[in-house]
């Protein structure tokens, strides 16, 4: 094999490489190259195929049986991958470890009772309730990674920096604040990744990454939409833009006067021009979004109303509402250019109907805690962005009454919403589940506390000599399937 090497830019530091404690997609992209799962996604799709498992079957809503392939070895001499390792790995999520640390992804395995080990290679996953998203989201995702009990126990804390897996790659060097190198695992037998090594380099600054791509110092990076636009047509560089799977909306705090008044919320919805805001925010590169679940994902409500700007209606609604104009509202937003620009447009649009907007732009960490606890009481208008998950029930959970004071910044307090969301979580019938999800979106629409804006675009740039592989959300990169062309 050729000694090909791939250089990938990462935009955040690698923090923790112990799967139950990993901190985000940067970590998980590495982990999914290092560890095997029972089932794993095929290149570029949410579909999955058998990985470490030779055979796998949902024998009942509450039980999944699996049989492992033989001879899958952990690197570093930690022996063969066994059913006991599967048990160890999955059960780590539901029990605190010796020091009392709990996995941050405990919720993924909330339905797990135990993994029964039948012999070296076979076992059963026992659930407490039906879990429709378990296969796509958990087993094929990062929480389904299989670690070596021996290695974790032997290495202790060091395991979070030196992951021992049985997957196609292994971590051969790791320098904080700099990056990490993946090298091909010679013992991995299923297939041979194209690249001998993958270098992940930490470059926080977008612009630097863009320049480095142009200078051919990196092979692959995510791009801001601006940069993507600019790079289209650049020699030797391929730019890929796709509708994103993050939903962005303008939220209104339903418990704060005058936004507790439905007419006011509706007036605001009527007064803004989503298309113009999206144009300003994303330079015309992002599609408009009309409901929470972006098109293409399970549960998308394709008939959702498409609100057009209607100043007269807005004025009339305001008049009906009984509030005295002008009113002044605070618009809290993250200090990213796209949000800033959308905020400015919203400010201009709303001022025409007598609503003055004060823009309160916040830096990331402050922004993300603005809806927390008591500070959430004071929120008025805000822009928010969430990552969409293939599991629609999961997406809806942030809007539950129980999330008030956490992520339900609009303080949308609907018992019915909570009930339907809960039911959808264990509904194994796909069609009726979709109906439930659409029902949820209708409830959200009725509240008029969320004006959906866009599902963004994601853009990736890479040297034309590279054929990358990544899941449709654009964030989950599949290094083992990257090809050199």
């Amino acid at each position: 094999q050729e000694q090909r090497s791939l250089t990938v830019r990462i935009s955040r530091e690698i923090q923790n490489l112990d799967p139950p404690f990993m901190t985000g997609t940067t970590d998980s992209n590495v982990l999914r190259a290092v560890f095997q799962r029972l089932v794993a996604y095929v290149p570029n799709k949410y579909e999955y195929e058998l990985d470490a498992a030779e055979k796998m079957e949902q024998v009942s809503p509450l039980q999944i049986d699996f049989t492992l392939k033989k001879g899958q070895m952990f690197t570093g001499g930690y022996g063969e991958l066994t059913a006991d390792d599967v048990k160890f790995s999955f059960e780590r999520y539901i029990r605190p470890d010796a020091e009392g640390k709990e996995s941050s992804y405990k919720a993924d395995w909330a339905a797990l009772v135990e993994v029964q080990v039948h012999d070296t290679y076979t076992g059963s996953i026992i659930l407490s309730k039906p879990s429709p998203s378990l296969w796509e989201v958990v087993l094929a995702g990062t929480s389904g990674l299989i670690q070596s009990r021996k290695a974790v126990e032997a290495l202790g804390a060091e395991h979070s920096r030196t992951p021992i897996g049985s997957g196609p790659y292994m971590v051969t060097s790791f320098e904080a604040h700099r990056g990490l190198t993946l090298s091909r695992n010679p013992d991995f037998a299923d297939y041979v990744p194209d690249y001998e090594t993958v270098n992940l380099i930490y470059i926080a600054n977008q612009k630097t990454a863009e320049l480095a791509l142009r200078a051919k110092e990196i092979d692959f990076t995510e791009l801001s939409i601006d940069a993507a636009e600019e790079l289209i047509g650049a020699e030797g560089i391929t730019v890929e833009k796709r509708p994103g799977q993050r939903f962005v909306w303008m939220g209104m705090n339903m418990q704060k006067a005058p936004l507790d008044n439905l007419a006011v919320r509706k007036a605001i919805r009527a007064a803004i021009d989503v298309d113009e805001m999206v144009l300003a925010g994303y330079q015309g590169n992002a599609p408009r979004l009309n409901t929470m679940i972006p098109p293409g994902l399970l549960g998308h409500w394709s008939d959702a109303p498409v609100y057009q700007r209607n100043v007269d209606e807005a004025r009339q609604l305001l008049a009906e509402s009984g509030v005295t104009l002008p009113i002044t509202l605070k618009l809290t937003l993250l200090n990213e250019p796209g949000f800033q620009n959308m905020g400015l447009v919203a400010q201009a649009l709303l001022s025409e109907v007598g609503i003055n907007i004060e823009i309160d732009q916040r830096e990331a960490a402050t922004f993300w805690s603005s809806g927390k606890g008591e500070s959430g009481d004071d929120l008025e208008l805000f822009f928010l962005r969430f990552n969409a998950n293939p599991d629609p029930t999961y997406n809806a959970r942030w809007f539950l009454p129980s999330q008030i004071g956490d992520w339900n910044w609009q303080r949308f307090d609907s018992a019915e919403f909570a009930r339907i969301q809960d039911e959808s979580g264990s509904n194994l019938d796909r069609d009726s589940r979709v109906q439930q999800i659409i029902e949820l979106q209708k409830l959200m629409d009725e509240s008029a506390s969320m004006v959906w804006l866009t599902n963004e675009v994601f853009a990736l740039g890479y040297q034309s000599s590279v054929q990358p592989a990544f899941l449709p959300d654009g964030n989950n990169w599949q290094f083992p399937y990257f090809k050199a062309i």
């Binding site: 920096r161 904080a176 380099i201 926080a204 630097t208 320049l211 480095a212 200078a215 993300w368 805690s369």
Partner: protein
């Protein structure tokens, strides 16, 4: 120091949400909050931190599980290399430029240099860095964009140091040139220079030996004080050139509300400042014998 740590501890936001945004579950956030001791009152946190520092332990980074000592020690050499290189470059160019300006006061060269140095001093280093990148890396393609290399040959390291060093040094060149020029003018007006002239010493000798040594002393003080500014500049430069270093550790830690790392690295920065100022004082006595014999 204390003030800064207190201030930093008052920064709102918690590491979990800062890291994960909406993905953070309450349990997840709670874990960090407890481990960083953020649920405890501020004096307890301070006491814990300083009692650990007293035994040389800056604490543990809860998020990655590494010791803060290791993180800081890893970053320091890079920042030092950058700071030293740009300081060196700045002195190498700034001092002769300042002497030239003072000796040829009012000449076109002096005026031009004054203007250029003013621009260098005041335009933030990140803008200079960006322009350097555009010109040398993208347009001319002479130098690499990234400030550090992976295939760690010394040559490659050096080549990659050039742009960050220059970007950081430019401001200092301007500053040093201006300072040296001012204190050279002061020195050149002194009686001992008149004496040296009266005894026919060559102008070069007067400028570079007799006057410069006197002129360096006030310059040193400013350089010592300016180490804070240098680190501030380094933060931005490290971000732009994707270099690791203390600046980016500090910045990332603040961004991520990683208080344990933040406190530790702030502490180290303050210690560095104190040490540098001590060294500056020591180097005074190298340049200024008056301090040496008065101490005796």
């Amino acid at each position: 120091m204390l003030v800064i740590v207190v201030l930093l501890n008052m920064v709102p936001g918690d590491p979990a949400t800062a890291l994960l945004g909406p993905m953070a579950t309450p349990e997840y956030a709670q874990r960090f909050i407890a481990e960083m001791g953020l649920d405890q009152p501020i004096y307890v946190r301070l006491w814990k931190f300083f009692s650990q520092v007293a035994v040389g332990n800056l604490g543990t980074d809860v998020i990655s599980g590494r010791s803060v000592n290791a993180i800081v020690w890893n970053a320091l050499p890079h920042t030092f290399a950058l700071a030293l290189a740009s300081m060196g470059l700045a002195c190498l160019i700034g001092i002769p430029a300042g002497v030239y300006g003072a000796v040829h006061k009012g000449s076109i060269g002096d005026t031009l240099m004054a203007m250029v140095s003013v621009v260098f001093v005041s335009v933030p280093s990140f803008i200079l860095g960006i322009f350097l990148l555009i010109v040398f890396s993208v347009m001319l393609n002479w130098l690499p964009v990234l400030g550090v290399s992976d295939n760690a040959t010394l040559g490659d390291h050096l080549v990659r140091m050039i742009l960050p060093t220059v970007a950081l040094a430019l401001g200092w060149i301007g500053l040093i040139a201006r300072l040296v020029r001012t204190s050279m003018l002061e020195a050149l007006g002194q009686n001992y220079v008149r004496t040296a002239r009266a005894y026919g010493l060559r102008e070069n000798m007067i400028h570079y030996k007799y006057a410069l040594k006197n002129a360096v002393i006030p310059t040193l003080a400013i350089i010592g004080m300016g180490i804070g500014r240098l680190l501030g500049g380094a933060v931005l430069i490290e971000i732009i050139f994707a270099r690791q270093g203390l600046g980016s550790v500090l910045y990332d830690a603040l961004q991520a509300r990683n208080f344990s790392v933040l406190q530790g690295s702030v502490f180290v920065v303050v210690v560095i400042f104190v040490v540098v100022n001590l060294l500056t004082e020591l180097s005074y006595s190298f340049f200024d014998p008056r301090i040496r014999y008065n101490r005796r």
